[in-house]
């Protein structure tokens, strides 16, 4: 699929679209927006992306809700999105860059199998109910353990790797690129398992916009969704270019980005079709209810959470990819 980078008359009237990304610098999983920008996919759709990075999904969401219209699309993880939804703000998921979990559990040398986690200290930034702990719990449950069999250490995000390096924790869930970075620092660390394989039905993140923006300029958002879907597909087809862009923006070294790319692409993190299918979304919302992020009484419905139309239009235009277990 040849990408004609920003060619034609469209270039003259590019519309500025503000993106709020949830991490600084991004991890490789967040890369599709930059890919779309760097390779000219956005330009092709008449879009000039202005990408802002924030420290955490909630901050990105806040910029979308309150930022005076400078942000059109935020890309938070699911917990803050669902939480904000349930508080009554009119937010819609219009697409996604990852429905599966792009994280892995990294553990100290002596932990070979899931069962070895018994009695160990697991780092849980954000505490019980935060993303990291939810993932750890998933890992524990996969081998019949429960949180009572381990001890949690509520360390701060900034202290995760120092804690691993100084043996103050034995295991923690990290983004795959962070895992490889940690392993570089302490080679005895290793991956216990990828969460996408442990919890295959997880919903990781979404592109979110507000009801006002949808009413304001649906055409623009349709183009955004289409461009981002194309970017996801581009990633699978262009390893080298994606790794280049990844190195440029994630600031991880090339070998780490390459290994991460291979892991994530193998798992099929980036959806090439709709991604936000009703079963994934309702399961995701249900998980948040179980975790106590929101109460069942104010649980949003699929229709409240997702604006399905843009994705459908994109599929119609771009065609559906099939033939690989990874395509979803």
């Amino acid at each position: 699929l040849a990408v004609t980078a920003g060619s034609g008359a469209a270039q003259q009237k590019l519309k500025i679209v503000g993106f709020a990304m949830p991490t600084t610098p991004p991890n490789l999983v967040h890369i599709p927006v930059w890919v779309a920008q760097e390779t000219g996919i956005f330009a092709k759709y008449g879009i000039d992306a202005k990408i802002f990075t924030f420290e955490g999904g909630p901050s990105a969401l806040r910029a979308l809700i309150g930022g005076g219209g400078q942000i059109n699309v935020a890309a938070p993880g699911i917990p803050p999105f669902v939480a904000a939804l349930s508080q009554g703000s009119e937010l819609k998921a219009i697409g996604t860059y990852a429905v599966r979990h792009p994280v892995a559990m990294v553990v100290q040398d002596e932990i070979k199998r899931c069962e070895d986690l018994r009695g160990k200290k697991i780092g849980t930034p954000g505490g019980t109910g935060a993303y990291s702990e939810v993932m750890a719990r998933g890992m524990l449950q996969s081998c019949g353990l429960s949180p009572r069999d381990v001890s949690y250490v509520n360390i701060a995000t900034a202290a995760r790797v120092p804690a691993l390096a100084t043996n103050q924790i034995d295991a923690i869930v990290l983004h795959v690129d962070q895992v490889y970075e940690a392993i570089k620092i302490k080679p005895s660390l290793h991956i216990l398992g990828h969460m996408a394989q442990v919890l295959p039905k997880g919903w990781y993140a979404a592109y979110v916009t507000t009801g006002d923006q949808i009413r304001d300029d649906p055409k623009l958002l349709e183009n955004v969704v289409m461009a981002l879907m194309e970017a996801n597909r581009f990633i699978y087809q262009n390893r080298d270019r994606t790794v280049d862009i990844g190195v440029k923006y994630t600031k991880f070294s090339r070998d780490i980005v390459e290994k991460t790319y291979d892991d994530l692409a193998r798992i099929g993190i980036w959806p090439v079709n709709e991604g936000l299918s009703p079963d994934v979304v309702t399961a995701g919302i249900e998980t948040e209810v179980q975790l106590g992020t929101i109460s069942a009484a104010i649980k949003p419905t699929y229709e409240q959470a997702v604006q399905w139309g843009f994705l459908r239009a994109a599929i119609t235009k771009l065609g559906r990819w099939t033939g690989d277990a990874r395509w979803h």
């Binding site: 955490g56 999904g57 909630p58 969401l61 806040r62 809700i65 309150g66 917990p79 803050p80 939480a83 904000a84 508080q87 009554g88 703000s89 930034p125 954000g126 505490g127 109910g129 935060a130 250490v153 509520n154 360390i155 701060a156 900034a158 202290a159 120092p162 804690a163 100084t166 103050q168 992020t293 929101i294």
Partner: protein, 269 residues
């Protein structure tokens, strides 16, 4: 006439503003603020904001569940240890810097540099040295609190009336007596302003320390409810912190009257 002898004697003309007492003015002012917040919060009606009545309701829930008390306790321990440590070390070091040029010049660059160092840079070092638990947090709060005390004390010492220092020297005062009789009382207004600043910083430092090491206490509540957009609950620990700020400052004023009565006796006439 002795320098600053009548210092502070009604240093500002104080009007009664239609005869209202200070407390009445304070209460009125806070009430106006709370009402304005309530009105604005209801009008804005955003998930990013809340209003006092919602906060009160949330506070009631959190107190009933015992959550607030639980988290508050661990925070307060950290805060008090860090603050006391900062006072106990900051004042003597400040006086030393003010009195001994060698120490001043040797320590000065470190004070200015450390004070401008963001915590993130310090965290890994602290973690390596002190781990993640209370010890590390206390040290972080201490680092937050010490600079206002140190720098204000230093400036206060520099500002001591040289003529009174001469009097003390004339009577052959030993250095430590000079501190007690002269330097500390004369720097008291500076030091008190420093402690007042340290209280505010300490409260923030406590929360920040909780963010950056293990997340516990009020910091945990704040992070958790900020991330889940429960603004009403988020504002419960925030309002608690505000009230602690006001209360601690009030307590400081009370202490001031007890340990530095001359500052107040003087204002009465």
């Amino acid at each position: 006439m002795s320098v600053a002898a009548q210092r502070g004697r009604a240093a500002g003309r104080r009007e009664g503003a239609a005869g209202l007492s200070p407390t009445a003015i304070r209460v009125l002012s806070v009430m106006v603020g709370v009402l304005a917040w309530e009105a604005y919060g209801r009008v804005l009606h955003s998930v990013l904001f809340t209003y006092p009545s919602a906060v009160v309701r949330a506070a009631y829930e959190l107190i009933a569940a015992g959550e607030l008390q639980f988290y508050l306790k661990s925070s307060v321990v950290v805060l008090s240890l860090g603050l006391v440590l900062a006072i106990v070390l900051g004042i003597p070091l400040g006086v030393l810097m003010g009195r001994r040029a060698v120490i001043e010049h040797a320590v000065d660059p470190y004070v200015n540099a450390l004070y401008a160092t963001p915590l993130v840079a310090v965290i890994p070092v602290i973690v390596v040295w002190l781990g993640f638990q209370t010890k590390a947090k206390v040290v972080l709060v201490f680092l937050f609190c010490i600079f206002p005390i140190l720098i204000n004390t230093y400036q206060g010492v520099k500002n001591t009336d040289a003529r009174l220092v001469e009097v003390a020297r004339s009577f052959c005062s030993k250095e430590w007596r000079l501190w007690r009789d002269l330097i500390l009382p004369s720097s008291a207004p500076f030091i008190l302003a420093g402690i007042r600043l340290a209280i505010g910083r300490g409260l923030i430092g406590m929360v920040v320390a909780e963010f950056y090491t293990t997340i516990t206490g009020l910091g945990y509540m704040i992070v958790q409810y900020a991330n889940t957009f429960r603004m009403d609950r988020l504002f419960v620990p925030v309002v608690v912190l505000m009230m602690m700020g006001v209360a601690l400052t009030g307590a400081l004023r009370y202490l001031e009257r007890r340990i530095a009565p001359w500052l107040y006796v003087a204002r009465e006439e």
